[in-house]
């Protein structure tokens, strides 16, 4: 049977992830079986899965070459540079909660990578079953630096400098260097003792000539109490970090915009009708705003990815959405996440993670076409890559939202018309249904991809 090894799974010699007939499995090498058994037999695995911190798995095969486990599937893989502040913060707290409980069972995390956390809706889960090892006596936490680079540095930068700095993960996909974080943080961060300790001082020690210091401090013991203290101080620091809401224009879009209640109802019913017909497994709601239509889609869809280029919109869905069927992401469609890592295969690009069964593009196209000068042909090609079915809204030039976009610029969009829109999309899609939204010229199109 043909198996495909996950390109991202090569760093840990104790096991690897692979896909067999569309299902994800994890192989545990014989060298790690003792540690894996300890995780199970100690009761730690049961406790972590019961508390919904670690994804559960079932053992599917045991051979002399190792054990095969089938973890609970994750509907959509995401990366820290696509998360909002509170998503990254909750991922950090989950990692620390896992480490705290592991310590109670005399085990510890051997890595603390942000990529070990995935979201089921708004619920973070630790996904790496092979990250647990027996607690080494009197040894510091091997994953301390990684935790600081993957969580603490980006969170502090997002909180104290600019929320957009989580994008540094794209350049430093294995964690933001502490020296860089220390240099970027404002001077008043030195007054915060936990930041001073875990970021500024810690960063200084990355540059130190440590061999001599190592010799001098070899006798020192790092007891379990110190490990607990380390985890607790990190937890307190992460909890204390906040990001100021900018109360963005988009956050109040559905309160301030020009839609009448009737139009909104028409739109809502159309989304529900199409979702009822298609019963899509995966929906991408592009320009999801506060997730109004994502919520309607979940009535008949299994899982909705609500993407928006506005941080506060995505963050507000994450913080206030009780459902586990909606996963908000902070994504700029004009510059979607690229493929990253070794051979550009470790982290998949956004487009590689598609296509979705259904893509919702409501009140979005004019921003891409007029706000970003993207032609209908380019848009149609883009949507054909990511959507099997498409529900798209056309907004004419006479609409007040479009007029606002054109208010302070030259109108170079001679080809911006419904006719041209239908011709361009007709190359890739067949229109299955169309409705008009009142008298303002807005229309909704349901389309099916031709190939």
């Amino acid at each position: 049977m043909k198996i495909k090894r996950e390109p991202a799974s090569f760093r840990d010699p104790d096991g690897f992830v692979y896909v067999k007939q569309g299902t994800v499995y994890r192989k545990i090498q014989p060298s790690f079986i003792t540690q894996y058994r300890k995780l199970l037999q100690s009761g730690l695995y049961q406790q972590l899965t019961q508390q919904q911190l670690l994804i559960p798995h079932e053992e599917t095969r045991q051979t002399p070459s190792g054990i095969e486990i089938k973890p609970q599937p994750i509907p959509f893989i995401t990366y820290p540079y696509e998360w909002t502040f509170n998503q990254l913060r909750s991922a950090a707290l989950t990692t620390l909660a896992v480490q705290k409980q592991a310590l109670e069972f005399d085990m510890s995390l051997k890595d603390a990578s942000a990529y070990n956390i995935q979201f089921l809706g708004n619920q973070p889960r630790f996904i790496d079953t092979l990250s647990f090892e027996e607690l080494a006596q009197y040894q510091p936490w091997v994953a301390y630096r990684q935790f600081c680079e993957h969580f603490l540095a980006p969170l502090a930068l997002m909180s104290r400098v600019d929320v957009g700095l989580n994008r540094l993960f794209i350049f430093y996909h294995e964690g933001i260097p502490l020296e860089l974080a220390s240099r970027l943080l404002p001077i008043n961060s030195y007054l915060n003792f936990p930041i001073l300790l875990h970021l500024h001082l810690h960063a200084r020690f990355q540059k130190q000539q440590v061999n001599r210091k190592m010799e001098a401090n070899k006798h020192r013991r790092f007891g379990k109490k110190a490990l607990v203290g380390l985890t607790e101080t990190l937890e307190q620091l992460v909890k204390s970090l906040k990001v100021a809401s900018t109360s963005s224009h988009w956050n109040s879009y559905y309160v301030d915009n020009t839609y009448s209640m009737t139009e909104q109802k028409l739109k809502m019913n159309f989304v529900i009708t199409i979702c009822r017909q298609l019963k899509p497994k995966l929906v991408w709601d592009l320009g999801a705003n506060t997730g109004v239509y994502s919520r309607h889609a979940t009535q008949f869809a299994d899982y909705v990815i609500a993407m928006d280029s506005d941080h506060d919109c995505s963050d507000s869905i994450f913080m206030h959405e009780p459902q586990t069927k909606i996963l908000p992401l902070w994504i700029d469609l004009t510059n979607p996440s690229p493929a990253l890592g070794w051979e550009s295969q470790e982290r998949k690009s956004l487009l590689e993670r598609g296509p979705a069964d259904l893509v919702l593009a409501l009140a979005l196209m004019h921003h891409l076409a007029i706000g970003n000068n993207i032609t209908f042909t380019q848009l149609a090609r883009f949507f054909s890559k990511i959507a099997r079915h498409l529900l798209i809204e056309f907004i004419p030039k006479t609409d007040s939202q479009v007029k606002r976009l054109l208010a302070f610029r030259r109108d170079i969009f001679n080809e911006y018309s419904e006719e041209k829109f239908i011709t361009s999309f007709g190359k890739y899609f067949r229109v299955t249904k169309k409705i008009s939204l009142g008298n303002n010229g807005r229309s909704l199109f349901a389309m099916r991809r031709l190939v």
């Binding site: 936490w141 630096r145 001073l196 810690h202 200084r204 440590v210 110190a226 101080t233």
Partner: protein
Amino acid sequence: MIFLLSKYGSIKKLPMFLFCIWLTGLFLLAVRPALAYLDPGSGSYVFQLLIAGLLTASVTVKMYWRQIKSYIEKKVMRKRDED
């Protein structure tokens, strides 16, 4: 840390105690960085060894603090019941 706390004696003087810790932190920052860049993992390793005492003390203080708090709470409750 416990020594310092007992020296300062009172919780009222806790800000001064925290100031001392912060000052120590700043002093440690003054260590001159070497030109050579070695394994960054070992820097974190040594750093943890150096702050081990502080981390252990934080857990101990917290533990004692919880005990003191519950002792005071019990006293207050008992007094209220008596009243």
